[in-house]
Symmetry: C2
């Protein structure tokens, strides 16, 4: 009998690899934070001597979800300004609030709240873009969630950095600081084509190659942004990125709602990875990402919630359901983006997009033990004919019962083990009183 740390038994296991597999009455053996084996429960009980055995009953176990695009700290601005046109939302509410309030404390407290929400809804890894990425990384790592923090760059000065050089220098220092933290990775995060000029983009391309890390960027989010670029520079943003040498498997292009056929081919040929944020795209009326066409062209498409200021949640189960529903309507085909693909986008494709699929995204021996357990018994999820599509089309995030990251039990029967919810809420309430008052005052002017 081989000693292991944990044996997780569940009625159903959805390992994501091989595709479209649902194992019944199997178990996951975990040691040193990694998956040792995935095997029938009866066999596991004769082969392993676990320190802890957890019998999950009528649950399904699947890989932890990967939120491939968010701005965690912005959770503090959730619902500050809804139902506004994009530019009024940004110029009259989000940007003034950020200018007034963003600080190390804002990022720490906002990220902590975001991590609590993500763990409670089954997300075990998030790809972030925000100021003070060192604070984001430290907060996430301490809470026990996996993160890729964006080494942000933008043409204008902020409280984080004064100019292009300082953004990149501070970014490199963050990369260096966390290079031995197994829960943290980094990516360059030039904000968007319309906010970052050629010089810093060229330097980022070189540095990303040297460090072998991704480049995380908003690209073609709105028709307005594309039209403006054509008018000002005679070039679509994607063409400019191609000219600068940025179209490569390193590029994580977020949103991509405006793509013609040639661009889809170009993106596919270059191996660019796309992150689809369906709910944010809907809420901000940004447009429809052609997910099925991108996938048909062979492009890896991951899923992200975007920030809570434009979603308004960090709920990847909701997001993958929205993605599956929306793709059918957009491609006028009810068989488009089936459940199995939607779950894959939220797990393995997310890991692939982040270049982390050697370690996460599916339940395979040798990979990290990042798992989520969901309850499939109950009024909302019965009758149960097909567990995999039930998870996509009928499950709420409230049915997430347990979460493990690198084998650590982060959510236990819906209670967080490393974060204090009451403390987080008390902190959030202090922030929201101040932020709400200043937003209301600005509105009166």
């Amino acid at each position: 009998m081989q000693p292991i740390d944990t044996l997780l038994c569940a009625r159903w296991i959805v390992p994501i690899e091989p595709r479209d597999t649902v194992l019944e009455n199997h178990a996951v053996a975990i040691a040193d934070g990694r998956i040792v084996a995935l095997l029938p429960r009866a066999e596991a009980e004769t082969r392993y001597q676990p320190h802890t055995t957890i019998d999950l009953g009528q649950h399904a176990l699947l890989p932890g979800l990967v939120n491939a695009h968010t701005h965690a700290a912005l959770t503090l601005l959730r619902g500050l300004a809804d139902d506004l046109p994009l530019m009024r939302w940004l110029q009259e509410h989000i940007w003034p609030a950020e200018q007034r309030w963003v600080s190390e404390e804002f990022v720490r407290d906002g990220t902590r709240h975001a991590v609590a929400e993500m763990l409670r809804s089954g997300t075990t890894c998030f790809n972030d873009m925000y100021f003070f990425p060192d604070i984001t990384a430290r907060t996430a790592s301490a809470a026990g969630i996996r993160s890729v923090v964006g080494l942000i760059a933008i043409d204008f000065p902020t409280v984080w950095a004064a100019d292009a050089d300082e953004y990149l220098d501070k970014g490199l220092a963050v990369h260096d600081e966390f290079r031995h933290d197994t829960l943290v990775r980094t990516a360059f995060a030039p904000h968007a084509p319309y906010t970052v000029s050629d010089g810093p983009l060229e330097r980022i391309r070189v540095l990303a190659d040297e460090l072998d890390i991704p480049i995380h960027m908003h690209v073609h989010e709105t028709a307005h942004e594309v039209a403006e670029a054509v008018e000002k520079h005679g070039e679509r943003p994607l063409a400019r990125l191609a000219r600068l040498g940025l179209l490569s498997p390193s590029l994580l292009a977020v949103h991509m709602t405006q793509l013609d056929d040639d661009e889809i081919d170009q993106v596919a040929d270059a191996g660019v990875r796309v992150v689809h944020c369906p709910e944010s795209n809907l809420k901000l009326a940004s447009g429809f990402c052609p997910v099925s066409r991108l996938q048909a062209a062979g492009v890896t498409v991951a899923l992200g919630t975007d920030g809570a200021a434009s979603n308004n949640d960090l709920d990847m189960f909701g997001e993958l359901r929205s993605a599956a529903l929306l793709a059918k309507a957009v491609s006028a085909d009810a068989s488009a983006l089936p459940a199995v693909r939607a779950l894959e986008m939220a797990t393995l494709d997310g890991a692939r997009a982040l270049g982390w699929d050697d370690d996460i995204g599916s339940l395979r021996p040798g990979k990290a033990a990042d798992l989520v357990a969901v309850r499939l018994d109950g009024i909302e999820t019965e009758p149960l004919y097909h567990p995999l599509s039930q998870i996509v089309y009928a499950l709420d995030r409230g049915r997430v019962s347990d979460v493990w990251v690198a084998g650590q039990h982060q959510l236990r029967d819906r209670r967080l083990t490393t974060l204090d919810e009451e403390e987080i809420l008390a902190s959030t309430r202090r922030w929201s009183e101040r932020i709400g008052a200043s937003d209301a005052a600005a509105g009166v002017e």
Copy 2:
């Protein structure tokens, strides 16, 4: 001090009328199943002597949600066949399962499960279309939820009726049977233009006028259905309904994803009410209902989940959020269908569409005490800047804590008071074993 039955106190009350109102620290006084008053809590405590006082703390109280289109019994087929083109879904799975299994017991058990799910998610009234409407009505009424049951008519024989005359005769008998049940109303429910011929539609028009009840019908659900009608009869279905005199305030036209500008004007002029089912339309790739344009033309647009076989839930909070998000993208305007309107569609507009707004749909003295309480404290719903839009954009149905129908406490801190969840689940499992086996066997043929 006036004696009353119940005083409900909550941090926020969203009465829906007047529009865009959020009352803080108010109370709802209830007697004999009706709202007596809505007033500041302090004042309520000096004026009323309640038998029961319930202090809901950091909750918001709003009118119970009105699900304006569903097929409750089909909850037993939830998730039986996902990700299929519409005709394969119907012809290979749903219709064979219905033909094999639909009976009084199927309708009773499926409806009971659906009612449990609806009450647990804040729905207090549903508009149904299915066979055995007497069973639906009896089951719903016994469980204490309000229903409008459809007196179904369809050209082909079913286990419920053999021909047009029998459908209508049995429908009239159901209308008669429940005319003194305050929780039950009826509507004629000719299935769709492509399944009901002129004769029964003309008779329904006359009978609906005589009885003063609505006509509930799927109309222009898909482009295919419209094209087929034009090809076969040289006429769009809406034109045919107009010719038959059916376009009037009695008509509840469900789906309406295919409408040109003239049809929108025609529908508005005639006072037709529309029911929008965004998630079903997405999942079946039916198309996009032009909600904002209909509303701008003055049309009352209610919201429905459709059946759980094509959604796959009966979650009106999810549905109103989907409606609000989708309308923005469809009209390319982030200010389209704001939170206040989405909530109104799910409550007062639903009541208006059913012709029941004299009694339900808003919290006004004299109306029935149909209410839902939702928790706004917690990781998922804080920070809290604007309670009304938080309910629309950040709330899950799992945050529904309490529900009252006609003053009766139907859901108490997430426990149903009149239905036994375990008993329902045991019954559903017996059905799903048999239905799943026959569906799988049919698939092998």
